[in-house]
């Protein structure tokens, strides 16, 4: 008698500890091996793009916080840049520096969560996760000092900022940058040569360079595949052309590279912060823009290098106080499109860490 085996379908999510939100994967397994995978989106769809049409240009800023709630400042920045481009508004020097500082702090905070959660998916039982949350909390303390809120800041405005930073902010930020630099080395001693971490992540879930480019991946996922593409260098927005920093890239495009690229990017962010915190000039932080303003008829697309990749806002104005159409190019969503190619043939356990290494936020995927 011959025994017959058949594949079975496993629904991973929408509520599952490792889906980082409400995401569902319909995996077909042959034993432990994944032979097919169908991602199912839309459990967190709130229609944010449509809501933009019902709000004024300023009134949409709080909703951008709700996109990628791990990096709200970056979302704010991407949106206000698009509106400023649409209306042709110049931003004061001090505000530009503040934007860079906040965006880089936000990148560190987001990457810390990404790396910590990645190790949690590997099964490291929260130790790296909690270590990294320690620094993230300090960054959130800084942001709370500015905006009064810890996660959804609603701090940036079209034309600059609503209010200047308090006097304590800069010294506190400098201290924190030094602390983070020290901590990053400390985490490497825990994780970098961890035999099991390497065995789990090296060579696993390879995203080839060509595939990464053709699906439109961006951010650390693209750079880990060996493509040197960073919007801060390729299409400098704000004042990023004034700072010295490198664009770290990986070679293999595996989970290990994606994790290492994030750590390397945090070091580069520390470098940018060092320079920016030294050079912050005085002066106003806001160009006057009325609360209800009418940008000229037209369209604008502004994109930034958000922690998770290229975050773009496409706005169409018909001359009224609200955008006629708003489209958001969400990096998490587009990075996720190659998931099936990355996981087929790997084990169920690898699926979790490959998915974790892409680092998505469901708020951004479903919008």
């Amino acid at each position: 008698m011959t025994l017959k085996t058949e594949p079975f379908v496993l629904n991973i999510g929408p509520v599952h500890p490792s889906t980082h939100g409400v995401f569902r994967m319909r995996a077909t397994l042959d034993g432990e091996v994944i032979i097919d995978l169908e991602p199912v989106f839309g459990y967190l769809h709130r229609g944010i793009e449509k809501l933009a049409e019902e709000r004024t240009f300023t009134g949409f800023i709080p909703l951008t916080d709700r996109l990628d709630y791990m990096a709200s400042m970056s979302n704010n920045l991407g949106y206000v840049l698009a509106v400023e481009k649409l209306a042709g508004i110049k931003v004061p020097e001090r505000a530009e520096y503040m934007r860079v500082i906040l965006a880089e702090f936000q990148r560190i905070a987001s990457h810390l969560v990404a790396v910590g959660a990645f190790f949690n998916d590997c099964g490291a039982f929260f130790t790296p996760f909690i270590y990294m949350f320690r620094e993230r909390e300090k960054i959130y303390d800084l942001f709370e000092m500015l905006s009064g809120q810890r996660v959804l800041y609603n701090y940036m405005r079209v034309g600059g900022f609503n209010q200047d930073m308090p006097d304590e902010f800069l010294p506190a930020a400098r201290t924190l940058v030094n602390q983070i630099r020290h901590r990053l080395d400390e985490y490497d001693t825990l994780l970098l040569e961890n035999e099991i971490a390497i065995a789990r992540s090296k060579g696993v879930g390879i995203l080839p360079k060509e595939l990464a480019i053709s699906v439109g991946a961006s951010g650390p996922v693209l750079r880990a595949s060996g493509v040197k593409w960073d919007l801060r260098k390729a299409d400098p927005y704000s004042i990023y052309d004034r700072f010295e920093f490198d664009v770290p890239t990986g070679t293999a495009g595996d989970c290990y590279d994606r994790w290492r690229v994030r750590v390397a990017e945090m070091r580069q962010s520390v470098r940018i912060l060092d320079q920016a915190l030294k050079q912050v000039p005085g002066g106003p932080v806001k160009t006057y823009v009325p609360q209800f303003f009418h940008p000229p008829v037209g369209e604008a697309y502004a994109h930034i290098e958000a922690p998770k990749g290229e975050l773009g806002f496409y706005l169409v104005s018909d001359g009224s106080i609200a955008p006629y159409r708003c489209h958001i190019r969400a990096p998490s969503f587009i990075n996720l499109t190659a998931l099936k190619e990355m996981v087929v043939g790997w084990k169920m356990q690898d699926l979790i860490i490959i998915f974790g290494s892409i680092d998505i936020t469901m708020g951004e995927v479903d919008r």
Partner: protein, 377 residues
């Protein structure tokens, strides 16, 4: 029963030697069984506390500190909470299997302690096949796990249970082989005899054997980094996903009870069990158990989880050859020095262990494990 007999029994119970131990068989059996069950329960509560506080320390947080002084009553509060929970049985579950699974996995756990000596001659029954009994009984727990996985009619549970069976079957072999070194040195399978013959703890003569035993034991009881059957980030809670209330509490008890049993067996086999100066013997045993358990907490908090094929590879490509080599080396040494090994051999053995581990760890490749998949129609 006469009063002197009872007092003899009680004095034996308080872990002192009596001349005609074990005396009245049935009284001995009942009292000692109760003591063992209480010991397991109390130590499990202590372990839960140690693990949670230790995890707190390692993870730069405080850990439970609200219930009782320093939170020592936290495990009791947990136990009360979990017992008051509603017992939910899934509609599609195999009711009988689902009900029996926690009991089947809990019973063998207590049975292991029957042969663990708490002092000179203080044990429930001195089996002359003690270590064989331990190894055989310990793997029975996975029958309960498989029953839980199958009976829950949940795919996650079934995946977890299958992983557990696969790992237990594989790790049994290096585990038994690594024990053989100890058995040869002691010249007996009885745990009491093994402790008696450890004038120098066997961990010094058997560094390789104790390491292999520890790793294989951790895999067998599914402690991290081999906790694939629970794998909270992948399988939500693995085989006990569908359990709640007292049944879940039993599985929780089994999880820590297994760690306790492994620590007790390791202390007995390699750390000279109850032997030690000044302090009473049972305290020495408990102290050694806690030290071993702390090492387990430490690894759990530090290391990520291995993958199922890597788990198998470690068993067959790394632990299995090392255990056989250890077996051969110990055999030669015992042949050469039949009246006990001389102490300078400790350094030789440590050097050999280091070299072998280094040699075998270099054979470990990364980046493999992908399976070619045919296109589905």
């Amino acid at each position: 029963m006469t009063a002197p007999a009872l007092s003899r029994q009680l004095s034996a119970v308080s872990f002192e030697l009596s001349s005609d131990w074990p005396g009245n068989f049935w009284l001995h059996w009942i009292i000692f069984s109760v003591i063992l069950i209480v010991f397991v329960l109390v130590m499990v509560l202590a372990f839960v506390y140690i693990e949670r506080r230790g995890a707190g320390r390692i993870q730069a947080r405080i850990g439970p500190n609200r219930v009782g002084p320093f939170g020592v009553l936290q495990p009791i509060a947990d136990a009360v909470k979990v017992m008051l929970k509603e017992d939910i049985v899934p509609f599609t579950a195999d009711k009988i299997v689902h009900f029996l699974a926690p009991i089947v996995s809990f019973a063998p756990l207590v049975m292991i302690f029957a042969v663990v000596p708490f002092g000179n001659g203080v044990l429930l029954v001195d089996l002359n096949t003690g270590i064989l009994y331990v190894v055989a009984i310990a793997s029975l727990t996975s029958v309960g796990v498989l029953m839980a996985g199958w009976g829950s009619s949940n795919k996650y549970s079934l995946l977890g249970a299958m992983r557990d069976v696969a790992s237990v079957v594989s790790y049994e072999i290096p585990m038994v082989l690594s024990v053989l070194g100890v058995v040869m040195m002691a010249g007996s399978l009885s745990l009491a005899q093994i402790v008696q013959s450890q004038n120098i703890p066997f961990i010094f003569f058997q560094p390789l054997g104790s390491l292999v035993f520890f790793i294989a034991g951790c895999a067998e009881i599914n402690r991290s980094p081999f906790d694939l059957l629970e794998a909270d980030s992948e399988l939500t809670a693995g085989f006990h996903t569908e359990y709640s209330g007292m049944k879940f509490a039993l599985f929780y008890l089994v999880e820590y009870g297994e760690a306790l049993a492994l620590s007790a067996v390791i202390s007995t086999l390699f750390l000279s069990g109850w032997r030690g100066p000044i302090l009473p013997p049972w305290l020495w045993l408990v102290g050694k158990i806690v030290v071993i358990f702390f090492v387990m907490v430490w690894t759990r908090m530090t290391l990520p989880r291995a993958r199922i094929d890597q788990l198998m590879a470690v068993a067959w490509k790394f632990l299995f050859p090392l255990a056989i080599l250890n077996f051969l080396i110990t055999g030669v040494e015992v042949l050469a020095w039949p009246n006990g090994l001389p102490w300078p051999l400790i350094f030789v053995n440590f050097a050999i262990a280091g070299l072998l581990i280094l040699a075998f760890s270099r054979r470990y490749k990364v980046g493999w494990g992908r399976v070619e998949v045919r296109e589905l129609r």
